[in-house]
Symmetry: C2
Subunit: 209 residues, 2 copies
Amino acid sequence: MPTRSAREPERPAKSFRQAQFERREQAILDATNRLLAEKGYEPMAMDDIAAEVGIAKGSLYKHFASKEALAAAVMIRLLRRTREALDALPAEAPAADRLRAMLEWTLRERLDGGVPHLPSTSATLRDALLANREYVDELMALSEMLGDLVRQARSDGALSGDFADEFVLYHFYARACDPTLDFLKAGGALTDDQIVAQMVRAAFDGITR
Amino acid sequence: MPTRSAREPERPAKSFRQAQFERREQAILDATNRLLAEKGYEPMAMDDIAAEVGIAKGSLYKHFASKEALAAAVMIRLLRRTREALDALPAEAPAADRLRAMLEWTLRERLDGGVPHLPSTSATLRDALLANREYVDELMALSEMLGDLVRQARSDGALSGDFADEFVLYHFYARACDPTLDFLKAGGALTDDQIVAQMVRAAFDGITR
DNA sequence: GTCTATAGTCTGATAGAC
DNA sequence: GTCTATCAGACTATAGAC
């Protein structure tokens, strides 16, 4: 019997079945993410997901208890990635610049096709998400971080005085999900870089001279 | 036989039945408008509308061939009212001011609860609307008028130079439907006037100092 | 395969316009 | 009094979660 290499853990290796199971779960999440971005929540049928992954519909329910739970898992993964992107920004940069950078990051993610049409597409999904502890925790953590940036930007004197902090935060979220991006992309008259630049500028500096 | 007064038309007066029919049609449109604004397209069942109006479901189909046709009629009425509001603005005002005024008008309409969650809520509805000649004509007429205002604002030198006209128009539509309004309204921290003022200002002048 | 939801249809009964 | 529009609601068909 050959000795295990140092790379292999002492505890019994995950069984092949187990590894397959986890790979399939990632594949399901990826497919769902793609379909959510493409069609939105309600139009996306569980059959679509099964077909995309290439597994039986019933198998989906071995991984996720319901369509809502599956969508929630996708959204939680997205919030985590967003939070990581925010953490990766240089801490010494002015708060306003970091907010700009986050908006730009999000818009580029969307242009690359990776971001599901926001919960706003479906009241059912929104309610399910707000009932999901893990999702709400992630969302609150992200909102805390963004809220800190807003307050910091204000004390830096970077914001116009009469906007409520609450307003600035909602404004940021709404610009991150702005449908203008999809229309411009579909219109095809502007490059991705132009779309991102104009949207970021409009969000922070307005469109008037 | 008494002579008809001058106020009465020669042709036979509309029968009572006919008048009832038309009143009911308005009631159906009003109820649908309200329900669309409250729940969105798919969650709104025809039974809901019938119940809201207080008529039998079958009677709905005496007025509108389908759920899609009914929703389209509501949206067309909304576009007409919007165009009338635009026509009512003083023609001598600068184009940029008229755009601001239109955005303010729309946001106030939404705060008053009268505007259906945009077509974006449902791909089905969006497709049905785009296949509806009357709707598309109204939408194009409105877009023409707004596009004219944008071009005029640009030649007035009111817009920042590097925004595409196309971008400015989409930006305007997106701000008119901005979910920020609903969040702020639900939050309750700001008055309606504050919400409108901050949103209009953010849309045109940005949030940075 | 089962079950639920809902668009859309149909029918017999009935109120009320004519 | 006659007749027609409307009513209540059963029913069909379909889609989609599970």
